[in-house]
Each structure stands twice: as C-alpha cells, then as structure tokens.
Subunit: 250 residues, 3 copies
C-alpha cells in the first residue's frame, strides 16, 4: 500500500492501485478496480462496488483522476485520463467515457452509456441509461436525459448528444431524441424531437428559435457567442484550444 | 453483535438488530431502531436519528431490506418487507410505507407521509410532507410533490397519488392535487388540478390530453402501453404479476 | 480537544474549535476553520476543504451552528450565528452569509455569493456564483439561480433576490435577473426578466400575474397570504416577529 493511503481507508489487497495514489480518510476501494498513477480519491468514497449488472470487468480510471468526497463508482466502467468529479457523484456499471470528463457534485450517471472526450457535466445532472454523448458537450445543472418513451417499460431509447452541443439548466431531453452538433437547448426546456445542428431550441415543448450564431456575447463585444469555442477555453489543453483557432479565449 | 457487522460500524447496544444483518463500514445504528433478518445496510449510513418531530416510536424496517451507502433514516418511520434504496437517500420521521418500496439515489422523503405497497421512486424524487401515495405507483427523477399552497405558511395540503399512477421526469405536483388511479403525468409538467383516472396530462400548466390507452408501445407491437401492468413486471412477485393477467411481461 | 469530539473524528490541531463543540463520528475538520461555542457538526462531514479559489481566509461559522451529516464546506466562507443545514450540503469558497441561514438537504451553494439574514433554502436548491440574496428570502426545492447568459462562457451575471421574496419549487432564474422585494415566483417558472416588488410571476417564460396581496390564505380565513410575515413566524426570533406586527402567526 502506498504511503498516501489514509490509515482509516479500506483498500482490498487485490485492487490495482499505483504507489502514488492518494486515498482519503474512510474511503473504501473494492477488489475489481484499476487506479493508475496521479489519481486522488477523496474521503468517504466507495469505489468499485460489485454488481451483477456489469460484465465483470474492472472499474478502470485513467491517470490523474480526481474523485471528490462521498462519491460512489461501480465496477465495469472505464474512463480516460483526467476525470474530475465533484462531491457525491454516482456512476453505475458499463459507463464508457473518454478523457478529461468532469462530473459536477451530485451527478448521477446511470450506466450503460457512452461519453466522449472533454465532456462537462455541471452539478446534479442525471444521465439515463443508453445515452450516447459526443465530445466537448456541456450539460448544465438539473438536466435529465431520459430513456423510457412510456414509463415504466422495457423499451429504452437513449438520448444522443452531438459534439459541442450545450444543454442548459433544468431541461429534460425526451427518450430517443438526437441533438445535433453545436445545438443549444435553452434553460427549462422540454425537448421532444430532434434538434438540428447549431440551432437554438427553447420552451416546453421546445421549438426551434434561430441559429445559435445569432446569440451575442454579453461581454461588451457583441461578437457571436456560438460556437462557444471562439471565446471559451478554460480547462482544455493547449493543443485542443489551438485546434479551435480560439483567438479570444481566456 | 452479529458477525456481519463491520468492525468500523457503530451500533448502539440497545438497537434491535437481527443476527444475520449486514452492516457496512463506518455506518451508525442508533438506539431506537428495529432491523430484522435479511437486511443489509451499506457504508456511511446513519440509521435511526433521534428527532423531536417524531412520536418516539422506533424506526422499523421489514425483512430483507437493502439500504445503500450514505443514506440517512430518522426514527419513527416504518416500512414493510423488501425496501430497497439507492445511495444518499434521506427519510424523515413519520413515514409509513408498505412492502417492497424502492427509493432511488438521492431520494428525499420529508416524512409525515403514507406510501402503499410496491411503490417505485426513481432517482432524486422529493416527497413533501402529507403526501399520500397508493400502491404500484411510479415516480420518476426530479419529480417534486409539494404541499404549501402559498409558501411559506402553516397550511400543508399534501398530494394524493392513486394506485398505478405514473408521474414522469421533472414534474411538479401542486399542493392538494389528487391524481387518479392509473393516470399518467407527462415529463416536465406542472399539475395544478386533479387528474382523472387513466388519463394523460401534459404541459405547464398540465392539461388533459387523452386516455392513457391511446399511447402505443414502441416495441414494434403497437399494443397499448397503458395500463403498464399488461407489459411490465420486472421486480414484482409472481403472485402479483399473475393477478394482473400479464401475458407479455418480461 | 473537547470532550464532545467523537473518537473517530479527525480534527486538525490548528483548527480553532471551541471546547463545547460537538463533532460526530468520522467527520474531518481541516486546519483553516473557526468553529465557536454551541456548534454541532454531524457525522461524515468534511469542513474547511482547502482551495485555490478562495482568498486564504478561514471558514468561519457563527455560534450555535448545526451542520447535518455528509456535508462539505470549503475554506474562505463566513456565516452569522445560527446556521442550520440539512444533510449532504455543499458550500464552496467565498460565500458570505448573515445570521440564521437554513440550507436544506442536498443544497449546493456554488460560492462567490452574498446571502442576508434569516434566509431559508429548502431541499436541493442550487445557488450559482455571483448570486446576491437579501434578508428573509425563501427558496424552495429544486430552484436554480443561474449566472451564465450564454453557457459556457466567462461572463457571469448573478441573480439578485430582494428581501422577503419567495421562489417556489423547481423554478429557474435566468442570469442577471433581479427579483424585487416581496415578489413571488410561482412553482415551475422560468424567470427571464426582472420581477417587480410584491408581484406574482408565473409560467415558462414567467409573466406578471397580479399583486401578491390578491392571493388568499387557504386556512379558512381568506386573509391575504402575502406579505407572508402577517401569518408565518416559525423559526424567527421574537424581536423579529414583533417588528413585523404579526398578530396571527404561529
């Protein structure tokens, strides 16, 4: 056991934990996990819970992962490098995520889903089973991606979210809906049919309003606010930002 | 103390805990609780918190209860056999629930409420005080049952939900509203007046749309999706399902 | 260390903790905190998490604070006397709050915000950065105060909430919106522009409906329900209530 494991933590002897991994007080690391170099697990986390709903494969974190306190991960999920979570995150089995995913406090990832690279979930999002999420997607607080067209049933139709799409606060995406690349779903919307790329949808039920490039930055410049990659770059690696040709970003 | 109590758990010597009960690491069992045979309490749970808002009776679980990690229960509530919770559930005093209740992750049951048999709460539901919920009810993520008609006040009018009713994701049920047996409240609705049995309500404010039996299953058969008991039986005991005459269920 | 600190709690030797403070099992008190007399910290709390986003000042509680289990506070926030929280509350850095704040279970205070005296957050509210909240404000479950007018961006426009205002369940307040003193935002609303004092707003998008004094108490008297200070006084000190001239309050 590495010197960074707190004395009160409970780490299964067969868990694959790199020597430099920090594990906080009172955390539990189960047997079927892989935690590589540079990772940090906060206090009161339970990592690698066994389940019959997984495929038996381990929970695999990438390097330099940060899991904040009171979080829970099941086995049979995998993440690229640089996962960062808030507090009290739940991630169920069969979640396959790319690199540098961020999951805010209270996020509830139901499993059986695919998540791309550089995705950002703000606090308290709910990602239903069978969701397929592209790269550079942003999902804001209290958004729910649903999956059952006539609940309760055995028919699960996941939501698909294209690259660079943005779903604003407290919107519900109905089962099977596909959101096109760069689309913006305004706050408190209820999206019942597919959203075209780079278009703004708003309302309950949500309707198409205009192209996202009509929205102006409220920073005094009145440049277009979308694509957001033209002005926002916080937290992305330099090679990614330079690919965007971001001249104005933070 | 049974052999299944983790060495780090703190169990009050006067708590009534059956010999075969499993209690996870770092959990706390207070004095005024009854945990019978076949129960399992996860890690970081606090069970039986004392409160002046209860009637002094113990927290009583039924047999074969499963409480997942980081959950909190107060004293003076009772549950039938087979309660299953997700993670981080909160259940306040004076909750009286029947058998085989399921409460998803982050569920917040405010107490002073009555819940029937075989009720299903998905993740992150909020059940206000004075709610009365029938049997076989389904409540989906981020639904709130409210109770104060002019907040803040001392007037509490709970919501009543009939047997087999379904409330879909992120709907708000306004104070004192009665939902009839088998009614369906669509996602992201705001229900301000009573819902008739077996009818679909949708919108904000919600309006009556049609009979639920007009909704077709999206499984290729186009059979009616409601009553849902004709095609969905996962998790219910055989004697219940056979009572429904369910020929097509999972 | 005081005699009320549970033997399993981890308290940094440099933390300023008064002798009579109660600290529950498995809680963690970091170095940069001030916890004065009369305070009580529940189980599984992590208090005073270090962050580079704060100004280096300590987390300072007032006297007679009660923090319930599984809660998390960062350094560089301060609170007046009598803070009470539910379970699993998160409070980030640079939160400045007055006396007798209540934060319900699952509340998520994002930091960089100002909160007045006697404010009440019910369960599961989300207070975005840059929010400015007056005195005697009520915010009900699943309300979100947002701040980014075109997410994601570096432009943060916080919500301002006037004294005695009430935001009912599951409403979203859009960035930069100002809510006037005594205004009422009905449940499940989406408020996109400023709300005048003592007026009711409802809907998505919310529209002005009428003066709040048109709303009648449903307690048999049909007296006006607003200002709510005429009939509701639970939990406020006597000198405050007498200031209101509350003749009918509980």
């Amino acid at each position: 056991m590495g010197q960074h494991v707190h004395s009160t933590a409970i780490v299964h002897p067969l868990a694959k934990v790199a020597n430099d991994v920090k594990i906080g007080p009172f955390s539990i690391i189960h047997e079927n996990v892989v935690i590589p170099s540079g990772c940090e697990i906060g206090a009161y986390c339970e990592i690698g819970i066994k389940t019959t709903l997984g495929d038996g494969t381990p929970l695999v974190f990438g390097e330099n992962t940060t899991i904040r306190s009171h979080s829970v991960f099941y086995e049979s999920s995998s993440f690229g490098a640089g996962l960062v979570t808030g507090h009290r995150v739940t991630v169920r089995e069969n979640t396959k995520a790319g690199r540098n995913l961020q999951i805010g406090t209270l996020g509830d990832i139901q499993g059986d889903c695919v998540i791309g690279d550089f995705v950002r979930f703000h606090s308290n999002v709910h990602i239903g089973k069978m969701s397929v999420i592209g790269n550079f997607v942003w999902i804001f607080p209290y958004v729910v991606l649903t999956n059952d067209p006539h609940p309760p049933s055995n028919v699960l139709k996941g939501v698909t979210v294209g690259n660079y799409a943005v779903i604003a606060t407290m919107s519900v995406i109905l089962p099977g809906v596909k959101i096109g690349e760069g689309a913006l779903i305004a706050a408190h919307s209820s999206l019942k049919s597919d959203a075209e790329p780079n278009m703004l949808y708003m309302g309950s039920p949500a309707e198409k309003v205009c192209s996202t490039n009509k929205i102006r930055l409220q920073d005094g410049t009145r440049r277009p606010a979308y694509p957001w990659t033209t002005h926002f770059s916080r937290g992305y690696p330099e090679d990614v930002v330079s690919m965007w040709g971001n001249e104005h970003g933070e």
